[in-house]
Symmetry: D2
Subunit: 314 residues, 4 copies
């Protein structure tokens, strides 16, 4: 059975028809306005209706950034779109021309599920996805099932506390993991290094046109790939925080696999090796237990579409 | 169906027949020697054989402190008994006179399962057990299923890291949660306070016969119940660490209930209120999500027997 | 001998004639522009010239926020005024009509010196001043001498690191003491509490007109004085960080007295008692050594004038 | 003027005649018993009397591990010898045959003073000594004067707190600097690595005869000099903690020089370069201030004798 997956961003939506092997057969996009939730409903439905002209689908899955109700019908709260206890599935179902189940999933869960079913985790039964982007998102798969939690808000890994009294987080707490293990943390530290020690940061500054505040993640990756010591150190620090936190997650859930997604994956082994090293160094009972693998995600931006579609047909 | 549960300690075993409502119908004990694994097999079987004289049982569950294989047949490693990749279920099955399934479970998982099925968690679907004793153990129930992990070693909550560069743990790492949230931590801090500030610790010292090194957990509880400020502060600190760590666990798993077990539960609300306060203060997205309940365990020492028996018949 | 003390702020200067007992006999003010350093020179000189019409003085001391050269002639760097290796003493000396020595001192050092000579430290020989304001400044007196350091930048206590991986500081580092022990930290935590737990912060929010972002330090003090539990807790947390850091300073310098200055002093014992408690709890070798006193500053805003004048005549 | 310096250890004393350039002209040793303080007095006097047969001296300085009164007459408390408010100078003065001043100094202060006067700090005016041995000791020189503190117990650098909730220290507190920046910390971490990751620690284990618990500091240095990655990492970690803590000390005292003493100095640049790197990375206002030098001590075990003698004649 084919299904439609919808990845709903703040200003645009991407909609695709996904087959049972996780391939996207067709895809359309729509622009949206974050403040106008009814227009988002319409844009989603419109895109679905366009695709169902040519494709037969059995379900529609909507991937939304926010807290999704455990019955997969509503978005309870979203940081970037004006949804508050919003019955998104029902609203979209009313506007689409086909009569198929419509379900909502958290976008990080959807992306993680795509990796689990069709990507780096396809051979695994117990997997943790860590999406290292602006923040640190995740998904948890236990015994082949996605863990949504009692109220649908599980896998908020970025808000596990890793440093008491640590960096303030946008969530209002201190020391959240995503303040140390995210692309934003990488860029923050890179800019800081460039200001405090410009000589060491010469290479990074050149790539950024001379301005510390213009340094972005890809500059760090590029400099690291050229062997720049500061950039390598920045990636190693990021990797260390990812790996050390992963070891705490493993103490709780004993997964067989961690999948690292997000833009920083472009750094490849320059990131992955420090992650693995820190994971091993911190893993409780190392030597008395098998160790989880740590791999890069295989899907990119389309993971949300694929995962939402696949979850919808289950 | 009745089942037998066996709680295997370092120097003794407790064995009981458990009915489907979690009641123990009969119970026997045996002394054992930690170094002699064959004698432990025999003691277990002997106790089971005694009980099956008068009770019909359909399964036997063995609760062992250690890493249990995910197929529930073997103990991979145990800290206090000389089991190394030891096929405990098979060895015991050969020695018992009834022909029923024999399974091994981690003891903290068994105790947590007893709470989930017949105790504080009986109405829950998603529960975390935190057993605050010498160390900090736990059990994880997701969507009514016990989470054992890929290799059987999930729920080692005590070894999640909560302080980078923090207290050394017996496990060889720094900053493990159990170094802050355990009876041992409580006693360590109480003794330290008594040495550094004997005037503040006068009440505690009196209860302990004047010797700081003799202060034990129940002294702290007793002093706190009598209103002693230092003892109250020690319990509040313990509670804070439990609650703050629980908030990190909740970020990952979104449970509906935490159950706090172990001897410190004797302190009741003097412990529980600080736990809840810290949990709320640290919980990510407070106000946008329901909050998990935090309650004391209802079962005491017999939880291992009850949980092992119940898991064996599943 | 009387001396003039000048307290140079970003937008105004306060100038006073100070007698040998630390009293201000006359005082004038001038508005200034932070970007125009020559105009600041002229404003200082103009005020001095006005005062020397009626008062005979033997020295002029200039208190400046910034790094002052150890020979007390120049400001090497200032955060708020455009001084860079600026020969401030010479420039002012050229413009004043009396022929007396002109020296520059760091403003926190000047304020600390005023406390040492004429305030809470007048009976002490070894004193640490901690000025808990927007940031955390200080002054160090060892054996009756102000410690300026090799290059004039000693006593930057606010930038001692107290939490590895802690809050980012404006200085570019993590975990600086002033991120935990300053009025800014108090307000930050109060606002955060008001957002995360509005019910607990009801009293604070009322005082601030209902808006978390309007909460200021005096609101916390006022609420605490009325017995509000959250406000008391916020002051206790601030006090704990001050006291714990002071214990580290004491390990290094073994002073007989800490003097706490800055606006938070308005909270009196509500701040001071937690400071002392934390200091005792953290002090190394408590019981084998006398303990430093911890007292509030006696001088207010005029401490800079008094201290600069007195340092100038030495 | 020549002077005698006495270095009083737990089980032996070393006594030397020191000339004005810091050279030891003659030296004798005596065995002692830590429990019998009178016998220590006699052993000191006996050794002094032997040396004064052939050398004319003007003063005697006694270097003692412990808290020394600020008037340099008594040991208030010592961890390893049974001195409690013990008038050591007077007792020794009564037993020596020459009539010269006898003074007591803290041993770390004496060693630091030797470096300041005749060693790595001979050209400096403001110096911090950090002695990285079993613990972390130190000495503080401000403007050419030794800082003893109000009650004689300054420069206990090892008990500045660097990690809240960090490793327990023998002093009873958590997170003391010496738990991270000492030879003991190096060995602890090396042994731990050897237990947790024996493959990585193969080289270290070989040097220690195969037993993790036999790993000692010199093994780490030797392995590092042979290029062993784990040993290099262990030294880098030690160096990082030294350097980061030194930056906090510099924020307070702005010294021109740090001198690193103790056995770990044998590692040379393998330790020193990480110290300097971490110092720079953590130093507040880097770029707006000169940076202190960080050098190895030049004196070895005899620094206590030399420093005590020189302090006695001042």
């Amino acid at each position: 059975m084919h299904a439609i997956g919808v990845d709903i961003g703040g200003t645009k939506i991407a909609v695709g028809v996904v087959d049972e092997s996780g391939r996207i057969l067709a895809k359309v996009r729509r622009e949206t306005t974050a403040d106008d939730v009814a227009s988002i409903d319409r844009a989603i439905a419109d895109a679905c209706n366009e695709l169902t002209q040519e494709h037969q689908v059995g379900a529609i899955g909507l991937a939304a950034a926010g807290f999704v109700s455990p019955d997969r019908t509503s978005v309870q709260f979203a940081p970037n779109i004006a949804w508050r206890e919003y019955p998104l599935a029902e609203r979209v179902a009313k506007l689409v021309e086909v009569d198929v189940p419509v379900v909502v999933e958290n976008d990080a869960n959807a992306a993680g599920w795509a990796e689990f079913r069709f990507g780096a985790g396809r051979a695994a039964t117990d997997m943790i996805m860590l999406t290292v982007g602006t923040g640190l998102g995740g998904a948890v798969v236990v015994d082949r099932e996605l863990v949504r939690g009692k109220w649908g808000v599980a896998a908020e890994v970025g808000h596990m506390r890793v440093v008491p009294g640590g960096h303030y987080c946008g969530c209002g707490h201190e020391g959240c993991w995503e303040q140390y293990a995210s692309g934003s943390a990488l860029v923050r530290d890179a800019r800081q290094a460039a200001i405090a020690q410009p000589a060491r940061a010469r290479h990074l500054l050149e790539l950024a046109g001379g301005d510390a505040e213009s340094i972005a993640g890809p500059h760090v990756t590029e400099a690291a790939q050229a062997g720049d010591p500061l950039a390598l150190e920045l990636l190693a620090t990021l990797g260390r925080w990812i790996g050390e936190g992963a070891a705490s997650v493993a103490a709780l859930l004993d997964p067989e696999l961690f999948v690292i997604g997000g833009g920083v994956g472009a750094a490849g082994d320059l990131l992955l090796l420090p992650v693995r090293k820190a994971y091993q160094a911190q893993l409780s009972a190392l030597g008395h237990r098998p160790e989880a693998q740590i791999e890069l995600a295989e899907h990119g931006n389309e993971a949300g579409i694929v995962g939402a579609a696949d979850l919808a047909r289950r």
